[in-house]
């Protein structure tokens, strides 16, 4: 039963990954990645790590993929040009990928780790549940936990700065409006024609 589930999830994960690479339309690539993520969540459950599987489904397949779908719908698909700056790149890259896979597999399987060929030790029922992960995060790994929260905050601020329309307006009008005061002062006048509803940061 476990082997059947493993192979089904492995086929789903591998098919999703190949779909991401092979699909011409980025929207289908995003959908293939969702299949891949759900299959990986099944694999995490088979490895008795329930919290990571739940976080995978909620955070990745939920939130992050919604972000991807919005951005793909915004920028549109668009055909990739056939121009190749490096001749033969389309043939050399898969060869390199096969070489990378063989090298990684050899590095892992030839490492003489005896525990690799086993199913792992028997663990108690609460292995990988939210309580255990939470204890580890808030006791042993408190500093990485806080650092990752700061990283999330920085990423959110950075995304707002990068994607806001105001920076573009400021750059375009910089030569002419250099003496028009600080950006904060001339913001209402420039936001009025572009955004009649007055939505912030759009």
């Amino acid at each position: 039963m476990e082997a059947v589930l493993f192979f089904l999830a492995a086929i789903g994960a591998l098919g999703g990954a190949i779909g991401v690479v092979a699909m011409r339309n980025p929207f289908y690539s995003v959908l293939a990645l969702i299949v891949h993520l759900f299959s990986l969540a099944v694999l995490f459950l088979l490895l008795s790590s329930a919290f990571v599987a739940a976080a995978q489904v909620v955070v990745y397949a939920g939130a992050v993929m919604v972000l991807y779908v919005f951005v793909v719908a915004y920028v549109g698909g668009g055909e990739e040009s056939a121009w190749e700056p490096i001749p033969g790149q389309q043939f050399l890259a898969p060869l390199l990928g096969v070489a990378l896979f063989i090298e990684l597999s050899v590095a892992v399987l030839a490492s003489s780790l005896i525990a690799l060929g086993q199913k792992g030790p028997d663990v108690k029922a609460g292995f990988g549940d939210p309580a255990g992960i939470g204890h580890l995060l808030l006791e042993k790994f408190l500093l990485p936990f806080e650092a990752s929260s700061i990283l999330l905050l920085l990423a959110a601020v950075g995304a707002i700065v990068l994607a806001s329309r105001r920076s573009e307006v400021a750059v375009e009008s910089a030569p002419g409006a250099a003496s028009a005061g600080t950006p904060r002062e001339r913001e209402p006048a420039e936001a009025a024609p572009g955004a009649p509803t007055g939505a912030p940061a759009r």
Partner: protein
């Protein structure tokens, strides 16, 4: 299933993601392939955590998820900024920084 199956699958997924980064040109798809590689690393982390019988590898996997979410947010912000400036969404045409 033995742990080595999971690790070999993880290296296969990593190789697929690397090939995708090498052959695709759209920045959105390159970000998706980056996700593939990060998830392959996550699978290896969780598999080794099960092999040792210790939950610390799963904490690593959660932190990797946080880093991946940050990378996605900043990367998609960059893509939106590129699109707003009417530049081509093609990594071979955005090559001014290549020197």
């Amino acid at each position: 299933m033995n742990i080595e199956w999971y690790v070999v699958l993880s290296s296969l997924l990593f190789a697929v993601g690397a090939v995708g980064i090498l052959i695709r040109r759209s920045p959105v798809v390159i970000l998706l392939c980056l996700e593939l590689m990060l998830n392959a690393g996550n699978l290896a982390l969780v598999a080794f955590s099960r092999m040792v019988g210790n939950q610390q590898g799963q904490v690593f996997a959660v932190v990797v998820m946080v880093v991946a979410a940050c990378e996605v947010v900043v990367g998609l912000g960059l893509i939106v900024a590129i699109f707003r400036r009417k530049l081509p969404l093609d990594v071979d045409e955005l090559r001014e920084l290549r020197g």
